[in-house]
Symmetry: C2
């Protein structure tokens, strides 16, 4: 057995001991290596030689040893393999290095440790998730929410970024559908074994992802979802991706838990706004309001947030700019004072514009050459052709500020 | 004639010379005083003694002198008085001191100077606007936009803050109506004389404000609105108030100009989000996205932004918190592993929870005492009464974070 094979087997065995994300486990594996830790834990302490352990600790250690001795990781791995499920571990070539950020001190939360390994079903390799975006949000999303989630996911997927989400109703489902509709890559991370469909109504979706995308979990095949597992699962969604988009989330929502992980990992957290009267947007608005999340409204804005610097440049939204706006302010002021139909004398224009007569006279001549105004029998008036918008000449003019 | 009367007359005369907001005018008035500046400008330079002025400058100075000589401020003031319009000047007891911030260096924009005086019609005194909020937004607001504008303005007015806005269709109108419906105070700042109604459809609204609120302008009665005057008017809306709320604003919108003034004056700028697919919210989303504006969704959030520290404390929105959430995580983990109907043995619960047998046993006893679980013939199951939500016991529990 190779060292890496021993490592894989030990990780499967150790993962069976408790819930995912235990930072003490992660820390011990990092110090000792998985096989040595497993061997150490298999040696139940001799009750006649307590080595400083009290009775309760001794019982606990024996419990762990019994448990470890009862698992058969080689059998678990080969069973999984028959189901098309592989086990991806740190150090292996498919390991997504982003997950190592979970080892960083600030993320060493009670359930924030890195996974011992990930069970994966589907053709997308986890090391291909370098460019990926998480979509999280309400299970009971509104039509608006699912529609925006699908649109944004489609845009992100179209740009070559993988979409990563859970498998719940609402935003999760909409994000996967959007990515698939765009012919893009999409990955579901589960809070149960990847051989299980939860919710069961999403079995067809998960089957599809197992064949064309990827279904991922740190829980061994067969394990069931629990509330705690959803919370630890959320850290993986945040950690696997470059940034997390919250589409709709009520004030008390699992999506805000994912959002918290993205912040803790210093990954961009983005929120999609919605009407203020809708409860499903309240949590998102709170994140944006407090500065925890950046407001995003388009896939381009998402890509700008997660892209390498300069990789995605968002064109600032801009209305049509009129020729008028290209004029210096005092010139524009004179132009504003010229009537559209009835001509006005230069004194009248100067008075309305509040600009001295000679300046006004000179400016009117300039405006005439530019085709904005025309001189008729009784004075000056606007030339009809230049009263409108000319979006063709709209370069380089900032639209903000007075 | 008293000194203050001379000052008022000089200010009316000087205001007739050009467009509002000219910082050079403001600066000269600050240095020389309005009467001295007026006297100086009335002395047209002698063409035979050029005093360093070139021909064009001489003509300009003569033009100014002729103009000044032609105005009759005393007549203008008494005409205005007959229309119920007063002229409020710096140093007078009704002068809103916030406007003096326009003298600050950073606001000395091409059109950013303080007004020479304000023409006011209506019972609200300008020095009562110490507690006030500006509402700006699209003339072509959506139904959603006008409804939110009216709601927020009503909430703000109900809390004793005056509402300040323009007199346009859409958000301006909705803000006034909301404030009036709440029995609150509201003020319209115009880009034309306060005796004029623009748009004409808003004559009834402006008449009402002239009797029960206030209509304000730095333009003398009779002057007409121009594009430049709308832009300079916007600085007054921002400068008169503690903060500015942008309800809906397309990318290219006058409301964004007001927003720019609020930022320049270091007054809180707030944006109300909306659906991402609606053009009228794009400008607001851009302000929030770039950090220029803080997202607000309720009147309380607006008041929190503009209130003195601690004056308005917003209760964080919070969903119902269940008893479960009050439990330490490992205890909750055991609770999650207890089935709802079919009882499970302690080994099974321990295995599902991923917690050692003895810990699980102890925790189950604790959960039994707390009334969460019950022991039956074949093991443990949830007590139905505690599976639900108990919002009565929801104090002090943070809702964010895993």
């Amino acid at each position: 057995m190779t060292a890496s094979e021993a490592d894989r087997l030990a990780r499967v065995a150790l993962a069976s001991l408790g819930e995912p994300g235990d930072p003490r486990m992660a820390s011990l594996v990092a110090q000792l290596g998985a096989p040595a830790l497993r061997d150490h834990l298999l040696e139940a302490p001799d009750p006649d030689r307590p080595a400083g352990l009290d009775a309760a600790e001794q019982r606990m250690r024996r419990d762990v040893a019994v448990r470890l001795a009862s698992v058969d990781p080689a059998r678990d791995l080969s069973r999984a393999e028959r189901l098309g499920i592989r086990f991806v571990v740190p150090g292996g070539d498919e390991w997504p290095s982003r997950l190592d950020d979970l080892m960083a001190a600030e993320t060493l939360h009670e359930r924030g440790g890195p996974p011992l390994g990930l069970w994966v079903k589907g053709p997308i390799r986890l090391d291909e998730l370098e460019r990926s975006v998480a979509f999280v949000g309400s299970r009971s999303a509104t039509t608006y929410g699912t529609s925006v989630a699908a649109d944004l996911a489609a845009g992100v997927a179209h740009a070559g970024y993988a979409v990563v989400s859970g498998a719940a109703f609402g935003v999760d489902q909409a994000a996967h559908r959007g990515a698939l509709a765009a012919g893009g890559r999409t990955v579901a991370v589960l809070a149960c074994g990847v051989d299980r469909a939860y919710p069961t109504a999403h079995k067809p979706l998960l089957d599809h992802l197992g064949r064309h995308g990827a279904v991922v979990s740190e829980l061994a095949p067969g394990r069931s979802p629990t509330r705690v597992r959803f919370l630890t699962r959320n850290r993986l969604i945040a950690a696997l991706t470059r940034g997390t988009v919250v589409v709709e989330a009520a004030v008390r929502s699992g999506a805000l838990n994912s959002a918290g992980w993205a912040s803790r990992l210093h990954r961009p957290l983005m929120g999609v706004p919605g009407p203020v009267s809708v409860a499903q947007s309240e949590g998102v608005h709170h994140l944006v309001r407090t500065g925890a999340a950046t407001l995003v409204t388009t896939a381009d804005e998402v890509l700008e947030m997660v892209g390498a610097s300069g990789e995605h440049l968002v064109t600032r939204p801009r209305g049509a700019t009129t020729d008028r706006d290209r004029l210096p302010e005092r010139v524009r002021q004179v132009l504003e004072a010229v009537p559209r139909r009835q001509a006005a004398g230069v004194e009248s224009v100067a008075r309305t514009a509040g600009i001295h007569l000679i300046d006004t006279q000179a400016t009117l001549s300039r405006l005439e050459r530019l085709g904005f105004v025309e001189q008729v029998a009784h004075g000056w008036r606007l030339r009809a052709t230049n009263a409108g918008v000319s979006p063709a000449q709209t370069a380089e003019i900032p639209t903000m500020g007075p």
